[in-house]
């Protein structure tokens, strides 16, 4: 009895010591604070992720109680469907266009707004951020009138400088860039605000030191400010890429994927399969493939931009 009791007491003491020492106990309050987030994240993100994986192996309508298991057939179908291939091409083309354009112009505008000579900085911050706050559907509807061929204000303004009518949303060769224009307008404020905040974090002494060493304004910006903003630029590029691959609402309202599928994106096609075609398995399979595309791209971007400089 005695011999059996001693180790038991010892293990209890060790357990108590471990409990007293452990990070869990020390951080218990903190864990309790993040528990609601973890629970919600598990319910609304992790759970649906695994559910989507499972759905991608089934065939049938979301409203249907019976969905037969078809293995990887949905993934195989993706490779033979011409529209699927086109929507992946469109999304890629859109992403490689919109991300650099948005990040570079946002950086330029951030430098402009952040310039010491510019007054009413808060006003400009509010102005550039406003489009992001407005409903995507509402702004898309407004843009459909701005981009209209006969009556559109953009057509009118371009006409003043001799540029002929552009069929922004109805010419298959141009329509994706019409969408890009709207999305650029909507999204640029987010990047500008990020960059302005990052610029404030660059110590002024470094700028002064560079100027004393004879650096021009361009050199100060490109050799001092921008390199020190690298983590924020990286974040901006990664988020821009993810959002670009997830483009949906502007396309849905402005062109509904047309003309001739020239603006059809991956998420637009996922939506159609899930809610209009009654093919939730295909939708889920496309969602998984989208994830597999975004993950490595984001990883490479983080490695490349994170290591450089």
């Amino acid at each position: 009895m005695t011999s059996a009791t001693v180790p038991s007491k010892q293990s209890n003491i060790e357990r108590v010591r471990f409990w007293q020492r452990s990070a869990v106990r020390r951080n218990l309050t903190a864990y309790l604070f993040i528990l609601p987030f973890v629970a919600l994240f598990a319910i609304f993100n992790i759970g649906p992720f695994f559910w989507a994986l499972w759905l991608s192996l089934l065939r049938g309508d979301l409203v249907s109680p019976v969905k037969p298991f078809v293995g990887f057939q949905n993934y195989a179908s993706l490779t033979t469907d011409n529209i699927t291939l086109q929507v992946f091409r469109n999304s890629l083309q859109y992403t490689v266009s919109v991300v650099p354009i948005t990040v570079i112009t946002a950086l330029a505008l951030a430098f402009l707004i952040g310039n010491r000579l510019v007054r009413f900085k808060d006003f400009f911050r509010a102005v550039v951020f406003f489009p992001l706050l407005a409903s995507a559907a509402a702004t898309a509807q407004i843009w459909s009138y701005i981009l209209a061929p006969r009556y559109g204000i953009l057509t009118y303004l371009l006409g003043l400088v001799g540029i002929p009518e552009i069929y922004w949303l109805s010419n298959p060769s141009v329509a994706l860039y019409g969408i890009l224009l709207v999305e650029w307008w909507r999204g640029i404020g987010f990047h500008i605000i990020l960059f302005l905040a990052a610029m404030l974090g660059v110590p002024e002494e470094l700028h002064e030191a560079a100027r004393i060493d004879g650096a021009s304004a361009w050199q100060v910006a490109t050799r001092v400010t921008i390199p020190l903003m690298r983590p924020v630029i990286l974040f901006s590029v990664v988020m821009g890429t993810i959002w670009a691959f997830q483009l949906f609402d502007t396309v849905f309202v402005l062109t509904n994927g047309g003309p001739v599928h020239s603006t059809a994106t991956i998420v637009w096609y996922i939506y159609n399969h899930a809610f209009r075609y009654g093919q939730v398995g295909m939708a889920a399979a496309m969602g998984v493939v989208l994830l597999l595309i975004i993950m490595p791209i984001s990883f490479v971007q983080m490695r490349v931009l994170g290591d450089s400089g």
Binding site: V63, G258, P259, R276, Y277
Partner: protein
Amino acid sequence: MATSTTFSRREFLVRTATAAGVATVGAGLAGCAPAAPAATDAGEEAPAMEVITLTMWKGPHKAAGDETKLCAQPTLDMLQEMRPEISVDFSEIPWGQYNEKFTAAFAADAGPDVSYQTESFPRFVNAGHIMALDDMIDASDFDRSFFYDRAWEPGTYDGTTYSFPWIIGGSNLFWNKDLFEQAGLDPDTPPDTVEDFLSHAQAITALGEDVYGFASAPKDWHENSQWPRRFGGHWFNDDLTECIVNSPEALEGWNFLNALYHEYEIAMPGAISGQEPGVGGYFRDDKVGMITAQNVFANSVRSEKPEFRLGAARMATGPAEGPRGRACYGGVGMLAIANKTAHPQEAWTVIQCLVTPELLTSWIGCLGFMSVAPSVNFYPDDEVLTTAQDTLQYTFFWPYRSWIFKFWDIESTSIESFLLGQRSVEEAVEDLVVQLNDLLKEEEGA
């Protein structure tokens, strides 16, 4: 706006009773008659009545909120007067969210008790979310002849009636009488044949550089897809197992449509008509002489430009014989009951009430659609809208099937591709037929 919205309730009753006849009104109202009050002793208060609230969803046919304010709520107030024990909680579901809302609701077995359904409703029937109505119809002695015979077809699936006709609409030819006059044409006489149609359109196009005889949106599957029919073609074989819209007759129709754009150049280029303000806007602004559009379009033009001199008639006929030669789009909007409703009898009562001449006029007449009941004319004094009621005979419904959205997407993209000059008609139509036959095979095997 529909003039009917200004009618008083008394005027409605007088007009509809005149139009429909006492017997018909009586038949329609039978299932909607107020429940007999519970017998009580003299002086004793009637027991408190339990009010059952039903949910009802419908896509809007007016600007957001207007249908509820002008048409739905006044009608539902009248319904509650008739049946105080039933209250209807009505929601306008924007068309842009219609599929996702219904899909999510039915997937969660939480669909609305009463819903407005269109071409894609067999999706929900297949999944067991819509209640079969035959037993209720038989038990209530509802006279099926109250509606046009063909209005029952879309709601009947595999021989069972799943939904009740409520709205019927169709397209017809609209023309701008001012442009007709300016082009030296009789403003009161529409073109009778497609040859007349072409010559009229050419005369109007000759009026100026920015004026066109005809326009259609390149992606408008309802309007563009009628041309093969007008030339004798069919979209599908009889048992709906094969797409045959590449027959020689159908191709003749496709080529005629294409020629309006690229050979005769009397159609507004698709790149222009496909963007705002759209075909209707250009027509209203005197840039286009003729269009085909759903009959509710008449109300839009009138509200936006009251002085517009609008002509409306059946479409010019192609070589096909009978109604097919003047084929236009038609469709039926229906009322259905959720299988999981806790109050099927009350939901059925609501449906019966909504199709009584009075409430039908109050809601559907207010929207500007045609009456689904031949005995009820919403607009006896309106020449244009009465014409549209007459042209319903030339309308063709799409198959009401679960694959309809995919079909429309394939169809509209193929047509759009040749109207925008991306492909030849033959290439586009062959591709269309291959894709549709694949779709039909896929559905057959599902």
